[in-house]
Symmetry: D3
Subunit: 139 residues, 6 copies
């Protein structure tokens, strides 16, 4: 856990984050990090070592809950379709069902309005199609 | 009108909304609803039955005025190019001229800044090209 | 459930939504509706009858999950401190612990940046102080 | 009109903009400009000479229409309550009725979500109270 | 300088802005203006005559500093990838190095969150690839 | 520098970040961290150890440049007035003049629109008043 006081190197922290990243995002997260290698390896390092190694790693909120919060944030921010694609995959990986994901995005219509709910839902459609999860019947 | 107290079924409300949607958005709205059928039919239902059947239907603001407000919102939100495309078509359908639409998006530069005004204007260019409405001369 | 086809009146739908609203938001939601009475009773009606009666009511996502999504969205949107106050109370009402709420807002730092995470966390501090829930020790 | 090619000085353009600003915003706009005098007189100049003198001045969209677009944008942006206060006053000044303003903000719920629609509606409540226009009955 | 009181025509102001635009954005800015010719020539005029001729022209902040502020804003706004592309080119034109640009976008992760920092960084990757500036090693 | 591979403890990283924070933000940053102690000490830790200790610490962009980017981001995000207050103070601390800060916020009008430029400028007015730096004459 991130709160322990063992001395770690930068490489230790990266390695630890990579474990969490792989559990949550599968290959989607790794692809993002790889694509940063020639432009901003430090951003790749921070996504892994900090976002996953320090924040995702904390036990106070289980992975399924973190993805619910994340889906809400990415839908609300707008313009984050690439990240939504990664995290809708992540949501499935950590145990959210297609029905629950679609319902979370419907719920977003109340707080973010119809356009952002629609944009996020169409990303889910793309992800679910790739994983052969269509049709979803959310009634 | 939405304020009446007649008992209606969910299907009644959908059918009523579909009438309004068709008047305002033409086939653009219907396409959005169709594309939701296998991923979130409930979101499609709410766009039709609630957004159009309950809100658009209200007589306190005529359709042309609603589209002016809508163009302002979609431009300001950012990342809503697909919805802008539907609603620039809708704006033409309810009587706004190309010159007025372009002027509304120019006006947006004051409040939203140049990038969002430009993004919205290029969506208008696409829609107007498809409807053979170019060039617009807004001087 | 919202998908049934019983005929309902506008008043029926309001009454149904009010039940859900009261369960989730307690008096916070009712106060918002009351404060709309002289300016936009229709907005008050739609918050109750639509947002709560139609969306919150759906069983596909339990109340605790909906508040996780909602906390994520309100944090990401920015400028929604009054709504965060209502919904941090709601989050407590539906079973999220102070530690989980604080962790969700820490998680937001990854996706929304430090300023929005801080703004939301200070709203939580205000709500927790009122409910005598400080200090929270999130390690 | 801004498209004419008469040579003008910076002062000419300010004086021209001030006329338009006064027509639209009344004293609200002037107060904003005055409050910029000791911190950013150039920003005050540009609000007057550019936003009002060059953009608002254009005849392609009448003042009432411009305020509908503006209300939509300010509601969608979020965090612009001071500007909403000025422009809800402006909206009344150029002929929008309280009912129409409230309806535009209800319409915003569809595109921006409930929190931003609520925030804007409560600004309208403040302005209407100051101008003795409450209650508004939007059914 | 914009504060002088020489009388100028609209064409004078456009010509002056075009000089600044060309210095800062090179052909990227001109392409944007050209693409507006048949849809909103007035928006093109205002980008040139106002944004560049009046604001960029001011000596109180040198071009390199303006691009640092601009990169920050475009990253934070979200959905402004086309403008980021123009302004990452502009940043290189006015003397920011690839390493500095990448570092500014890494810095954005703190304030805007990882998704927006990633989106902006991938635009930089595209621009740098076109200008044969990859790999960047930002450690 | 963050890229070295010395093993460090969590406390080491906090102590290192606190040095940078104090150089940049002075007491403003410390106050934010203190106010988190009873609600989210981990968020306080991450602001210090990560944002300052890992990101601000990097030599690839000097402190004055980082504040230019930061002012741009906070203005664009909207609703971040408390953070703008801290960072306008920080901007002065690291060598930006009042004239340069005001000019950066004027520049923001081009990209973020007038409302966000105005909101940020009024925060600067508050900070400058407290530090006895008014009037600023930005012509």
């Amino acid at each position: 856990m991130s709160a322990t006081d063992a001395a770690t190197t930068r490489q230790d922290r990266f390695a630890h984050g990579l474990e969490i990243l792989t559990q949550v995002d599968g290959e989607g997260g790794q692809k993002v990090v790889d694509s940063l290698a020639d432009i901003s390896p430090e951003l790749g390092h921070q996504v892994v070592a900090w976002a996953f190694g320090e924040i995702y790693d904390r036990p106070a909120l289980p992975p399924r809950d973190r993805q619910l919060v994340t889906l809400g944030m990415l839908t609300a921010l707008g313009g984050c379709e690439p990240q939504l694609e990664v995290h809708i995959n992540a949501a499935l990986n950590v145990g959210l069902t297609p029905e629950e994901i679609v319902e979370a995005l419907l719920h977003a219509a109340v707080y973010c309005g119809m356009p952002k709910a629609l944009n996020a839902t169409f990303v889910a459609k793309k992800v679910f199609a790739e994983r052969d999860l269509l049709p979803v019947r959310n009634q």
